[in-house]
């Protein structure tokens, strides 16, 4: 009988340390929609950006116009690429559904859902149906020549109450949605922090890409918790052809 009692108690006792470990970090899971009333947490994140970081104020609905790069000092290669950029192609069947890289996607005004485990966090982004896997198991990034993608390869760790996510292996993609793109060498570091009431989430998004701009640049983004769910995006590249004039 004593043996049975011990056997019954054993699993919870064994699981207890794991449960405590999981409980020890903030719970970010849930449905989040972008917020435009940043709290004091945003200023805390701003203060942690490296000295000299240029904060670009174009998150959400604030797009920069053609020729406005938010104060970034562009490389000659980036300027050459911009000169050859044709905005008319953006509406073509070929490019209308170009998936933005995670750098654009994480500031876009669409919801995201977070699923959280001790060694893995999944971010389901509604915009272009992107799914991000954040590895928290201590692994590193793959070799530099490993395949790149629009979501990139992300590893994360906790620093106190903040989740730090380091992303590399990104395919080149738009950086400002106005003809200026980042390269495949972009290094993207995010710090996520819950608001005091647990109903808001804030992030700094630090980018470094010496091939196309000098120094470091960052966006500051906030979300509020909601009770909705992620809709499918299912981009249709033929959208622009409705009512299109015949050639």
């Amino acid at each position: 009988m004593k043996l049975l009692a011990v056997a019954t108690l054993l699993p919870p006792l064994l699981l207890a340390p794991l449960a405590r470990a999981a409980d020890a970090v903030p719970r970010l899971e849930g449905f989040w929609t972008q917020s435009f009333a940043p709290g004091p947490e945003v200023e805390q994140l701003r203060a942690k950006l490296p000295a000299g970081t240029l904060v670009i104020n174009d998150a959400g609905g604030l797009e920069l116009r053609e020729g406005d790069y938010g104060g970034l000092v562009l490389s000659e290669a980036a300027k050459a690429e911009i000169r050859n950029y044709d905005f008319k192609n953006e509406l073509s069947r070929e490019f209308a559904c170009t998936v933005p890289s995670v750098v654009m996607n994480m500031q876009a005004p669409f919801p995201l859902e977070i699923l959280q485990d001790e060694k893995l966090i999944v971010l389901r982004l509604e915009y272009f149906d992107m799914v991000r896997i954040i590895h928290l198991d201590g692994r590193g990034h793959p070799p530099a020549d490993a395949p790149h993608s629009k979501a990139g390869h992300s590893i994360g760790h906790w620093e106190g109450d903040e989740l730090v996510v380091d992303t590399t292996h990104l395919l080149a993609g738009s950086f400002l949605n106005n003809g200026f793109s980042h390269s495949e060498d972009l290094h993207f570091v995010e710090r996520f922090r819950l608001g005091a009431d647990g109903r808001t989430l804030h992030a700094s998004q630090l980018s470094e890409d010496p091939a196309v701009f000098e120094g470091k640049a960052a966006r500051l983004v906030s979300w509020r918790k909601g009770d909705d769910y992620i809709y499918p995006y299912e981009c249709d590249p033929s959208f622009a052809e409705v009512g299109e004039p015949l050639e």
């Binding site: 604030l62 116009r65 690429e81 209308a96 005004p109 003809g179 409705v242």
Partner: protein, 140 residues
């Protein structure tokens, strides 16, 4: 041979540089601020001919009868249907034959094309699209 190799290498380098210079760049999903006048809206009245409600943008086609009797074909895109579904829009929100007035941000190139801010029907109903101040949940 010693002369040929450096020349070949120079040619290869030149070819790479020329390719880089003529590369079309990494295309992106299209920008609102680049394509549309973002601080002014116009009103255009007409009759719906087609409507498709799919990401990345819904697309409305409508005909406008001008004073001289000719018809001008207009097109107007919405922001993302995902955003608009949460405001009550659906694929059936606009039907061919509907008489409408579209308020929207005009195309920068002057073509009969706009981004929808709102659609008003003859019976007074309204559909709300992108906000005038381009609030952040409206860009896409």
């Amino acid at each position: 041979m010693r002369l040929v190799l450096p020349i070949l290498r120079s040619c290869q380098l030149m070819a790479v540089l020329l390719l880089a210079a003529s590369a079309p760049g990494v295309m992106a999903h299209h920008s609102f601020a680049v394509h549309f006048v973002d601080d002014r809206v116009i009103d255009v009245s007409g009759t719906v001919t087609a409507f498709r409600f799919a990401n990345p943008h819904g697309m409305l086609a409508f005909d406008v009868r001008k004073e001289d009797g000719s018809v001008e074909h207009w097109r107007a895109e919405t922001n993302s249907p995902n955003v608009l579904r949460r405001r009550g829009w659906s694929k059936d929100s606009l039907q061919p034959g509907d008489s409408i007035t579209v308020t929207g941000f005009p195309s920068r190139d002057g073509t009969p094309y706009m981004r929808i801010s709102r659609v008003k029907f003859a019976d007074g109903r309204e559909l709300v699209g992108q906000g005038m101040a381009a609030p952040a949940d409206d860009k896409e």
